[in-house]
C-alpha cells in the first residue's frame, strides 16, 4: 500500500514538470495519433532492450564471480558448451532484432495515413521563426500567422513543409515525430491531435545562431473554437482604440517596422518578418521566446538583439515613448 502511494507520488513528481505553462513538449506525453503509436513502440523497444541489457550484465557478473572448481583452458567439453551458449545467444539476438524490425515496420505503417487530409496548412521555416499559411478550400491563401498553429481536434491535418533558407525540422513531440524542411525539397507532416491542448514544438535541425529559440505552439481546439479562430484571423487588423495605440500605429508605419512586417488593413506590407495582423492574439513572441504581453512586446521592440542575439530583427532606435506607443498598438491587434 505504502509503496503504491510512493509510486503515485513519484509519478506525480515526474508528470509535474511535463505540463509547463507553455504547452508540453515531450515524446512521452503523447496526445496525437502518431505520437501515441510511437510512444507504444518506444516503450516496447526500451523494455526489450532493458531486459537484454540486464541479461548481458547479469551473465557478465555471473561469469566474473562464479566459483571456479577447475581451471581448464582448452577443455574440450567446456569449450563445446560455451560454443553452444554463444551460438544460442546469437540466435536469440537475431530473433529479437528481427522482431523489433517487424515492430518498426508496423509502427511505420501506422504513422503515415493515406486518407485525404481535412485541413492543409502550409509551413515555411526560416531563420528563426515559422510562417504558417492557411488556405481556403480552393487552396487560395487566406491569411498568414507566425509561430502558432491552430488545428481542430480529431481531424487529419496535413502540413506542407518548406524551408526558405537553411534546413529546419518541424518537431511537435506530443503530436508526431519530426520531419525535416529542406530547401529545394517538399516534405509533409501529418498531425492528428486526439485531445484539446497546447503543445509546444521546436526546430530540431541546427539552423544557425538562434536555433535554440525557434519554437512554436500548436493549439488543438474543438471544431467551434477552431472555426471562430479562423474567422477572426481572416479579418484585417483592428483599428486602435486608444490615442496611445493610434500614435503607435503612426510610429510603426513611419519607422522601419513596416518595411519588414505586414499588418493587413494598413500600409505595412513588408514580408521579411512575421505577419503582425493579429499579434495580440498569439501566445508567444519571438518564436516562443516570450509570452505576448504589453511589457514583453516593449522589451522585444526596444532591444531584440539582447533578448535573441543574432536574430534578423534590427535594433530600431526609438524613444521610450515610441516604444510604449508601438507596444500598446501591437498588443491591441487581437
Amino acid at each position: 500500500m505504502r509503496s503504491k502511494l510512493n509510486l503515485r507520488a513519484g509519478g506525480l513528481l515526474l508528470a509535474l514538470p511535463l505540463c509547463g505553462c507553455n504547452g508540453t513538449q515531450s515524446a512521452l506525453h503523447a496526445e496525437g495519433q502518431a505520437a501515441t503509436a510511437l510512444k507504444g513502440l518506444i516503450l516496447l523497444i526500451v523494455l526489450v532492450c532493458a531486459l537484454v541489457w540486464i541479461a548481458v550484465v547479469g551473465v557478465l557478473f555471473w561469469a566474473l564471480l562464479r566459483r571456479r572448481t577447475e581451471f581448464a583452458a582448452g577443455n574440450k567439453i567446456h569449450d563445446h558448451r560455451l560454443r553452444l551458449a554463444v551460438y544460442s545467444a546469437l540466435a536469440a539476438t537475431a530473433i529479437i532484432v528481427a522482431g523489433l524490425t517487424v515492430a518498426s515496420f508496423y509502427a511505420t505503417r501506422a504513422l503515415y495515413s493515406s486518407h485525404p487530409p481535412d485541413v492543409i496548412v502550409q509551413a515555411k521555416a526560416q531563420q528563426w521563426w515559422w510562417q504558417f499559411t492557411y488556405a481556403d478550400s480552393e487552396n487560395r491563401p487566406l491569411f498568414q500567422t507566425a509561430n502558432e498553429l491552430h488545428i481542430p481536434v480529431g481531424k487529419d491535418v496535413l502540413i506542407t513543409l518548406e524551408a526558405l533558407d537553411v534546413i529546419h525540422s518541424l518537431w511537435i513531440p506530443a503530436l508526431a515525430g519530426k520531419q525535416d524542411m529542406i530547401p529545394g525539397r517538399r516534405n509533409e507532416q501529418r498531425l492528428h491531435a486526439e485531445r484539446q491542448g497546447i503543445y509546444r514544438g521546436q526546430c530540431a535541425e541546427f539552423c544557425g545562431i538562434q536555433h535554440s529559440h525557434m519554437a512554436l505552439v500548436v493549439v488543438a481546439e474543438d471544431e467551434d473554437d477552431y472555426a471562430a479562430w479562423l474567422a477572426e484571423q481572416q479579418k484585417p487588423a483592428a483599428d486602435p482604440i486608444t490615442a496611445e495605440a493610434e500614435a503607435g500605429r503612426a510610429v510603426f508605419l513611419g519607422k522601419p517596422c513596416a518595411a519588414c512586417h505586414t499588418i493587413r488593413g494598413t500600409a505595412a506590407k513588408g514580408s521579411t518578418g512575421p505577419d503582425l495582423t493579429h499579434i495580440g492574439s498569439r501566445q508567444t513572441l519571438g518564436a516562443g521566446l516570450l509570452p505576448v504581453t504589453r511589457g514583453s512586446l516593449a522589451a522585444w521592440i526596444a532591444d531584440p538583439q539582447t533578448l535573441k542575439p543574432g536574430n534578423n530583427m534590427p535594433l530600431v532606435p526609438l524613444s521610450s515613448d515610441e516604444v510604449r506607443q508601438v507596444s500598446a498598438y501591437l498588443e491591441g491587434l487581437r
Binding site: A27, I45, V57, L64, F71, V86, I182, E188
Partner: protein, 637 residues
C-alpha cells in the same frame, strides 16, 4: 642477384647480445637534438607523439564540453554567447572525432601493429612522419581559428546550406572543410601503412589465422578508412568549391542538392564510428585474455564479426537521414541493415563473456576498464538498436537521446577500452607501471561520472530537449536534469584529471615494468620495455596464436639480417613465408618539409583557388627531395 656478400657484411649471427644491441642501436637510433627529432621515422616515437597530441586535443575538447555544460546548467544562462556556443559545440565534435578519436586509434596502431606482428618499423616510415605533421597542422589550424574567434560554427556535420556560401559568411566553414583535408590525408597515410605492414611485414610463421585480433581490427579499420574517407574528402572539397569558385553542387536552384551533402557525409560518417570502435574491439580482445589467463574464445567468430561489421558499416548511412523525407521503402531497408549490425556486435560481446566465463579473472585496472566498457557499450549498442528503428528515430533524432546514445557508444565503446589500453601498454611504452591505486580511483570516477552525466540525457531527449541548443527556457521541464548532468560532468572530469595525474606521475616515478609485467601472450611483450629502436634483436618466428604462452622456454627467432643497415623481413601475404630482406628508409627531414608545403597549399586554397597552382611547386620539390636516392646503405640492393 645480390651484391650482398655474406662474408663482408656484418650479420646478427653468432654475436653476443650486448654487442648486437650496440650495433643495432648505431643503425636504428636517431641522434639527439631538435632537428633529428623532427627527422625521426621510428614508428614508436611518432606514435607516442601522435598519442600525446591526441590526448592534448582530448583535454581541450573536454574543456569545451565543460564550458557547454556550464552554459546549459541553468535556463537562459548567459555565460557564453550563442555565436561562441555554436563554435564550441562544433569544435567539440570536430575535435573529438577528427583530432582525437580517429588519430589516437591510428596512433595506437602505429605503435602496436609493428610490435605485435614482430617487425622493426612500420611500412613507409617516412609517410608515417609526414602523417603526423599533417595531423598536427590540421589541429593547429582548427584551434588557432578558435583562438581568433573564427572557428567553424556549423556543427561537425556542416550541413549545407547553413555551411554553404550564402549562409556561412567568412572563412569559418572553409576552415572546417580544410581541416578535414589535413586530418584525412594523415589518416589515409596511416591506413596505407597499416595495411602494408600487416600484409607484408608479419613475422615468419604468423599466418592469417595466427594474427592477433588487435592487428585484425586495425587492418579492418584501415580498410574502412581507405573506403570511407574519400567520401568526406570529396564532400569537403566540393563545399570549398561551392564557397570559393561558385560551383553549384549544393544549390537546388541550379541542379544541385542539399541532401547530396548528407549522403556523402554519412557515407563517411557511419563507417567513421566503426573506424573508432573496431580498434577498441581489438584492444578489448587483447587485454581480456591476459587478465582471465585464457586464450580468447571464438577467435574465428570474432575476426569474422570484425570483417562483417566493416562491410555492413557501409550499408546503413541513411539511418542518419530518417527524417529527411527519403522514400519510405529505402528507409525501411536501412532500418533492417542498421539492426543487422547488432549481430556481429553481439557475437563480439558473447565471445568476450565466454572468455571470461572460462577464465580466471584478475581484477587489475586495464581489466576494470574492459568491464566498464562491456557494461556501457552494451547499453550504447541497445540504444543504437532504438535509433535504428525508423519510427523510434523520428522522435529522438537530433535530441539529447542521440547525444546520450553516441556518447555511450564512443566513450563507452572506445574511450574506456582506450584508457584500459593506456594502462595496459603504458609499461611497454615507457618501461614503468602506472599506479594501481590511482588507476582504480580514476576508473570509478570516470565510470560513475560518465553514467551520471550521460544517462539522464536519454530522458532529456525523450522529454523533448533538442540537440545543439545554447539555452532553453525556464518553463521547460529540463532545468533540474540539466543541472544534475552539469554537476556530474565534474565527476567525470575529475576522473580524467586523476588519470592524467597518474600518467605524468608514473612516467617519472612508476615502478619499473620489465618485459612482460602482465604475463601476456602477444609478441610486443617479447622485447624490452620500452622497446629499443630496432624493436627485436632477432625477428621472432611464430608457431601459434599465443606465442609467449606457448613458447615458454625460448622464443624461436630468425637470424641472418644485417646489422649495419636498417633491414627487416618481408613475408608472404597469407602464410607469412619469408620473401626478402628489405631495407627500410632512414631518418629524413623531407616528410616535414613536404607537410609544410602541403599545409601552405591547403591553407592558401581557402582564400584563392590559385594557391593550388603555386602551392603545387613547393610540394613537388619536397616530394622529389623525399624520393630522390641519397646513396645510403639502405638504398642498395
Amino acid at each position: 642477384m645480390t651484391k650482398d656478400d655474406p662474408i663482408l657484411t656484418p650479420r646478427d649471427t653468432d654475436i653476443a647480445d650486448a654487442e648486437l644491441h650496440a650495433r643495432l642501436m648505431r643503425t636504428w637510433t636517431s641522434p639527439p637534438g631538435l632537428w633529428a627529432a623532427i627527422a625521426t621515422v621510428d614508428h614508436k616515437v611518432i606514435a607516442r607523439r601522435y598519442i600525446a597530441t591526441a590526448f592534448v586535443f582530448l583535454i581541450l575538447g573536454g574543456i569545451l564540453a565543460l564550458a557547454m555544460r556550464l552554459q546549459l546548467s541553468r535556463p537562459e544562462a548567459r555565460y557564453i554567447s550563442p555565436d561562441r556556443y555554436n563554435q564550441i559545440f562544433t569544435m567539440h565534435g570536430t575535435n573529438m572525432m577528427f583530432l582525437f578519436a580517429v588519430p589516437v586509434m591510428e596512433a595506437m596502431a602505429v605503435y602496436l601493429v609493428p610490435l605485435m606482428v614482430g617487425t622493426r618499423n612500420i611500412a613507409f616510415p617516412r609517410l608515417n612522419a609526414f602523417s603526423y605533421w599533417m595531423f598536427l597542422g590540421g589541429g593547429l589550424l582548427l584551434w588557432l581559428s578558435f583562438a581568433l574567434d573564427t572557428a567553424p560554427d556549423v556543427g561537425w556535420f556542416a550541413y549545407v546550406p547553413l555551411s554553404g556560401p550564402e549562409y556561412g559568411p567568412g572563412k569559418r566553414a572553409d576552415l572546417w572543410a580544410q581541416m578535414i583535408t589535413f586530418t584525412e590525408i594523415a589518416a589515409l597515410a596511416v591506413a596505407v601503412e597499416i595495411v602494408v605492414t600487416v600484409f607484408k611485414q608479419r613475422a615468419p610463421g604468423m599466418s592469417l589465422d595466427r594474427v592477433p585480433v588487435l592487428v585484425w581490427a586495425m587492418l579492418v579499420m584501415a580498410f574502412l578508412v581507405i573506403f570511407a574517407m574519400p567520401a568526406i574528402m570529396f564532400a569537403s572539397s566540393t563545399l570549398i568549391l561551392d564557397r570559393l569558385v561558385g560551383t553549384q553542387f549544393y544549390n537546388p536552384a541550379k541542379g544541385g542538392d542539399a541532401l547530396l551533402w548528407q549522403h556523402l557525409f554519412w557515407f563517411f560518417g557511419h563507417p567513421e564510428v566503426y573506424i573508432i570502435f573496431l580498434p577498441a574491439v581489438g584492444m578489448v580482445s587483447t587485454i581480456l585474455p591476459t587478465f582471465v589467463r585464457r586464450p580468447l574464445f571464438g577467435y574465428m567468430l570474432l575476426v569474422g564479426a570484425l570483417i562483417a561489421t566493416g562491410i555492413l558499416s557501409f550499408g546503413l548511412w541513411v539511418h542518419h537521414m530518417f527524417v529527411t523525407g527519403l522514400p519510405r521503402v529505402g528507409e525501411s531497408f536501412f532500418t533492417a541493415s542498421s539492426m543487422a549490425i547488432a549481430l556481429p556486435a553481439g557475437a563480439q560481446i558473447f565471445c568476450w563473456l565466454a572468455t571470461i566465463w572460462a577464465g580466471k579473472p584478475v581484477f587489475r585496472v586495464p581489466f576494470l576498464f574492459v568491464l566498464g566498457f562491456i557494461v556501457t557499450f552494451v547499453l550504447g549498442g541497445l540504444t543504437g538498436v532504438m535509433v535504428a528503428s525508423l519510427p523510434f528515430d523520428t522522435q529522438v533524432h537530433d535530441t539529447y537521446f542521440v547525444v546520450a546514445h553516441f556518447h555511450y557508444v564512443l566513450v563507452g565503446g572506445a574511450v574506456f577500452p582506450l584508457l584500459g589500453a593506456v594502462y595496459y601498454w603504458f609499461p611497454k611504452m615507457t618501461g614503468r607501471m602506472m599506479s594501481e591505486r590511482l588507476g582504480k580511483l580514476s576508473f570509478w570516477l570516470i565510470f560513475a561520472g560518465f553514467h551520471l552525466t550521460f544517462f539522464p540525457m536519454h530522458i532529456l531527449g525523450l522529454i523533448g530537449m533538442p540537440r545543439r541548443i545554447y539555452t532553453y527556457q525556464p518553463e521547460l521541464p529540463w532545468a533540474g536534469l540539466n543541472l544534475f548532468v552539469s554537476l556530474s560532468s565534474l565527476v567525470l572530469a575529475a576522473g580524467f584529471l586523476v588519470f592524467f595525474i597518474d600518467v605524468v606521475r608514473s612516467r617519472r616515478s612508476g615502478l619499473p615494468a620489465g618485459r612482460n609485467p602482465w604475463g601476456a601472450s602477444t609478441l610486443e611483450w617479447a622485447t624490452a620495455s620500452p622497446p629499443p629502436a630496432y624493436n627485436f634483436a632477432h625477428i621472432p618466428v611464430v608457431f601459434s596464436r599465443e606465442p609467449l604462452w606457448d613458447e615458454k622456454d625460448a622464443l624461436p627467432v630468425t637470424s641472418g639480417l644485417r646489422t649495419d643497415r636498417r633491414e627487416l623481413l618481408v613475408t608472404s601475404l597469407a602464410a607469412a613465408i619469408p620473401q626478402a630482406r628489405e631495407s627500410v628508409p632512414e631518418d629524413s627531414l623531407w616528410p616535414f618539409f613536404a607537410a609544410l608545403a602541403t599545409s601552405a597549399m591547403l591553407i592558401g586554397s581557402i582564400f584563392t583557388p590559385w594557391a593550388v597552382v603555386w602551392g603545387a611547386f613547393p610540394m613537388a620539390v619536397t616530394l622529389i627531395g623525399w624520393f630522390w636516392p641519397k646513396g645510403t646503405k639502405e638504398e642498395m640492393s
